[in-house]
């Protein structure tokens, strides 16, 4: 339609201005032409100087030497250098002590006490229904024989979340009250949120070594940005009218902050808390790779020996923890600022006091009757039956089913028909062609700024000397994103047109969006074994809910007046979709692509744990072998890849949307 318009307009104009007018109508065309001109000049030169194919060796910098030296220096000086003795040492000790303290406190509370506390907090924040879920969830953790790992994870998370919230609040306050800090901090926070969790592991290991302190700090670094971002946005978004009224009454700066600005931002603060807790859980599980212990470690160990039953036994508590934490904090955020309900005797302080009293009573009774740790004889071992079921699946579903094949066959076909050609194609593409493609995509979708960042990030990967590995990772990301988008858009169009489908999907999406990335590896390993295809499948499953949700909301959010207008003109539902809904929902669609890419990358990288190779494996390998130089280079490449993929798909609208 746009072309038709362009041609009719140019046809009527004066003949000389035709190409110019065409360019003016379609700025993307102009950008591409300009890029073509640059390429025409630069490519022959680059080709002659460095050759085509993979990134030229002359342009790489080998960092493994210097990085290895840094690593050696740190290991050599960890116990003697003042920086470690008086700074990192203290941090490390404080972290170990506080995690230990929380862990002991949880154990002292006993299983009955912990379950009661969880249930009562959920009751106060979200009502009795969630209280039941919370209490039952903890009992299930015990039944599965995962009480101690669950408490370890919980202890680590508690400390990490507290630290993240304090750090996030401080940063958020600074950015919320000072424009300059906001301008500096915001791109940093935005970028941190798109980087895969794995990228954060190596730098902390470099400084703190493998163990709990490193795991907690990695979690804090990963989980604090949303708190900081939302605090800043909440403080800045305070209703200007209210703030003016408060100023007109003669409030001091401090009064304005405490009695108006902070309470007005309550919703954002609680949303920040929710996101921080969820990210902390996600990272606390992944950080098992660097010695976090707990549930994540059980999953990690089980996956490395392909023991699906054991992995599932540890994975279920993770999912339950995620659901309970998410629903409780989400309900608290929803309730903020609304009228208190329920009987007057249970409101506010009195309700909490009652909850504390009951919890204390249950804990004491529990201690005297049951003891601290979940009783051994009340454990239901699910590992074996699950493994039996899995073996049956291996025998019957993996391969050889007439007509449709088997899951292993599908994985093999996906690998050999899609992943391999894609990888070989990307690796065989001349390096300058990759850079040009990146530039063209980023520039047409976004601005020259995003294009520049993307190209520089891509070039940095080449300079780091991991071009081939990164192309491998990229091929998996591209394949998984393509599948995600096809499925996601299909489902979303359906959900946008049928209320019933949307209602059916909503609870499923809710649960799927809460689960930590790591957990997705368990079912795909059970279904498809190990390799690149299962990792891609996990990535698709992980990214799909977000894509479906954003797209559905975008399609549903289309101005009803425009839809009504189209209907009144007699448009069929197909025409409505193509000519009204999709064009108007373009920003949402682009955002869905962006989110899909970011989420897929995160899981493809973690896929290194289940044999997807490439950059993720390099990180795991570096950690396992103590070869931090290799891991760090791979980590840096992951950062660059994440940055590039985000910028390439970053629509200009996203920035504007966030401003408002």
């Amino acid at each position: 339609m746009a072309t038709a318009q362009a041609t009719t307009r140019t046809a009527s104009g004066p003949p000389g201005s035709r190409p110019l007018a065409a360019l003016r109508d379609r700025p993307a065309l102009g950008k591409l032409l300009l890029l073509l001109v640059i390429a025409a000049v630069a490519v022959p030169f680059a080709q002659a100087r460095w050759g085509g194919g993979v990134w030229p060796g002359a342009l790489t910098v080998d960092l493994s030497g210097p990085l290895g030296e840094v690593n050696d220096w740190i290991i050599g000086n960890r116990d003697s250098h003042p920086l470690f003795l008086y700074f990192f040492g203290h941090i490390s000790n404080a972290v170990v002590l506080s995690v230990r303290g929380v862990y002991l406190a949880l154990l002292a509370l006993g299983w009955a006490g912990v379950a009661a506390v969880a249930a009562l907090v959920a009751w106060r924040a979200a009502g009795w229904r969630l209280a039941l879920t919370a209490g039952l969830s903890f009992l299930v953790c015990g039944l599965l024989g995962m009480w101690v790992p669950t408490m370890q994870t919980l202890a680590l998370m508690t400390v990490a979340v507290l630290a993240s919230v304090v750090l996030g609040l401080l940063l958020g306050l600074a950015a919320g009250l000072s424009d300059r800090t906001f301008r500096v901090l915001r791109p940093v926070l935005d970028t941190m949120q798109v980087l895969p969790a794995f990228a954060y592991l190596l730098p902390v290991v470099l400084v703190f070594g493998i163990g709990v302190p490193g795991a907690v700090l990695a979690t804090v670094v990963y989980a604090a940005p949303p708190m900081a971002r939302l605090t800043a946005l909440g403080l800045r978004g305070a209703d200007a009218g209210v703030m003016e009224a408060v100023a007109s009454l003669g409030a001091t700066g401090r009064q304005r902050l405490l009695s108006a600005r902070l309470p007005l931002a309550r919703k954002e603060l609680l949303l920040g808390l929710n996101q921080t807790i969820m990210m902390a859980l996600s990272m606390a599980v992944i950080a098992s790779v660097i010695g976090a212990g707990g549930l994540g470690d059980r999953v990690y160990q089980a996956l490395s020996s392909v023991d699906v039953g054991a992995a599932l036994a540890a994975g279920i508590p993770i999912v339950l923890l995620a659901v309970v934490l998410d629903r409780t904090t989400e309900a608290a955020g929803r309730k903020a600022g609304t009228e208190p309900t329920g009987p007057a005797a249970l409101r506010g302080v009195r309700g909490w006091a009652l909850a504390a009293l009951i919890a204390a009573a249950v804990a004491v009774v529990g201690r005297f009757t049951g003891g601290r740790i979940w009783p051994e004889d009340a454990i239901v071992g699910i590992a074996e039956p699950v493994n039996t079921a899995k073996d049956w699946m291996v025998d019957h579903l993996y391969t050889g089913i007439p007509v449709i094949g088997g899951t292993a066959d599908w994985a093999a076909h996906f690998t050999s028909w899609i992943l391999n050609p894609l990888r070989d194609g990307l690796q065989g593409l001349p390096w300058w062609a990759v850079l040009l493609t990146v530039a063209a995509l980023a520039w047409t979708i976004g601005t020259w700024r995003t294009a520049l960042t993307a190209v520089l990030a891509m070039a940095a990967i080449g300079v780091l000397g991991v071009w081939d590995l990164s192309m491998d990772t990229l091929s998996q990301v591209v394949a998984a994103v393509a599948v995600t988008l096809v499925l996601g858009f299909g489902i979303a169009v359906g959900a946008a047109r049928s209320r019933r489908l949307e209602r059916l999907l909503r609870p499923v999406l809710d649960v799927f969006q809460t689960m930590p990335q790591f957990v997705y590896l368990i079912p795909v390993v059970a279904l498809f074994g190990v390799g690149r295809a299962p990792a891609a499948a996990a990535a698709v499953v992980y990214a799909l809910p977000a894509v479906v949700r954003i797209t559905t909301q975008g399609l549903r959010g289309v101005d009803p007046a425009a839809m009504e207008c189209a209907r009144s003109l007699g448009a069929t539902s197909g025409q409505q979709l193509r000519q009204v809904q999709i064009p108007l929902a373009r920003p949402a669609l682009l955002l869905a692509v962006n989110q899909g890419v970011v989420l897929v990358l995160a899981v493809v990288i973690i896929g290194g744990l289940v044999g997807s190779g490439a950059l993720g494996y390099e990180v795991v390998f570096g950690l396992a072998q103590g070869d931090l130089a290799t891991g760090l280079v791979a980590g840096a490449a992951i950062v660059c890849l994440g940055l590039m993929l985000d910028r390439v798909t970053q629509p200009t609208a996203r920035r504007q949307r966030k401003e408002s």
Binding site: D239, G241, V242, E244, A245, V246, A247, S248, L249, G250, A251, T252, Q255, S259, A260, P263, L264, R266, A336, G337, T338, E339
Partner: protein, 350 residues
């Protein structure tokens, strides 16, 4: 004017210019440029240009103008919620622009309280705590401020709603909370910034009555911003009509309607039912012999529509305008019809 003592607000040559290097505009040759020209030359907008007026104690001073005329900026300049660019501004004879932060805060806490178009209530507080907010800011104890707030909640007619949140109230009720909050600090002057524009016509009328009642009962000085001419005519002791940041005409409602200063004002007041605003003092003529003996007697402040009613009821040809038993003049059918038709050549003598 002098008999009223020191004016509550005394504003002289006040300017507020938005834009880069705003302070070069007032007093230079740029000051005489029309708005579009000024924006083109300097990138600045003069929201308030060279405004001077006094607000006398006990009056309702209405500032009226269409949106973009600078009236909201002007009222914010009075307590320096927006910092004026130049000019002088005094409250009760005390210079406002020279005040330091502490004194300015005192001014806002005790002397001038404001009611806003969009209420500006704190959504997380109950009605009672919203009303008590100004007192809390001043550092008053909890019991004391709540007792005072409860009094005012009662006064604005919100008894029984003390524990509601603003979101649970209707627009009119929310604005009553805003009014109570402003009254709670017992200010010497109340500033209203288009307080009723966001309300339904019926509720608006009710709230206007509330303001009239408050003014009658307490005699509080008020500065009232509005874009609604009928509201201005109903409430205003005096009206300042603004356009493009400047005051076009300043006078009583009768002066504005009866003798518009220029075509802009004339166009503005064209549809006003003149007989309801103009008084018989304007419409009367000297009596001819014998006319002063019969016919209904009217005060000079009676409106023309009241005179029409009186004349029609009595069946007499004229009505007498008297003050303290003294005959000032008479109005006959012709005088009254002239006012209604707008054909009277007479202009109001100030």
């Amino acid at each position: 004017m002098s008999e009223a003592g020191t004016p509550v607000f005394s504003v002289r040559n006040l300017w507020k210019v938005f834009g880069p290097k705003a302070d070069r505009v007032p007093g230079s040759e740029l000051a005489d440029l029309p708005p579009a020209g000024l924006r083109e030359r300097t990138g600045c907008t003069a929201a308030v240009r060279d405004v001077s007026f006094d607000v006398e104690k006990g009056e309702v001073f209405v500032v009226m103008g269409l949106s973009g005329s600078g009236k909201s900026t002007l009222v914010r300049c009075l307590t320096r919620l927006i910092e004026p660019t130049s000019g002088t501004l005094a409250i009760d004879g005390e210079d406002v622009l020279g005040m330091d932060t502490t004194r300015l805060r005192e001014l806002r806490r005790h002397r001038a309280a404001m009611v806003f178009q969009h209420f500006g209530l704190l959504p997380h507080r109950t009605v009672l705590d919203n009303v008590a907010y100004g007192l809390e800011i001043q550092g008053l104890g909890r019991t004391e401020r709540r007792a005072k707030a409860a009094e005012l909640v009662e006064k604005v007619g919100l008894s029984g709603l003390e524990d509601r949140r603003p979101a649970q109230l209707s627009g009119g009720q929310q604005q009553r909370v805003g009014l109570a909050r402003a009254l709670a600090v017992d200010p010497s002057v109340l500033l209203f910034d288009e307080p009723f524009s966001a309300l339904d016509p019926l509720i608006r009328r009710e709230m206007q009555d509330e303001v009239v009642r408050l003014h009658r009962e307490e005699g509080r000085t008020m500065v009232f911003i509005t874009h609604d001419l009928s509201e201005a005519l109903r409430l205003g002791t005096r009206i300042a009509l603004m356009r493009d940041g400047g005051i076009v005409q300043l006078g009583t409602p009768e002066e504005i309607v009866g003798s518009p200063a220029d075509d802009y004002v004339r166009e503005f007041v064209r549809d006003v039912p003149r007989e309801q605003v103009l008084t018989v003092a304007t419409a009367m003529r000297p009596p001819t012999a014998g006319e002063g003996d019969s016919g209904p007697a009217l005060r000079p402040g009676a409106t023309v529509s009241e005179a029409i009613e009186a004349v029609a009821r009595s069946g007499e040809p004229v009505a007498r305008v008297t003050e303290g038993g003294r005959l000032l003049g008479v109005v006959d059918h012709a005088c009254l019809l002239d006012v209604v038709a707008g054909t009277g050549a007479r202009e109001v003598t100030v």
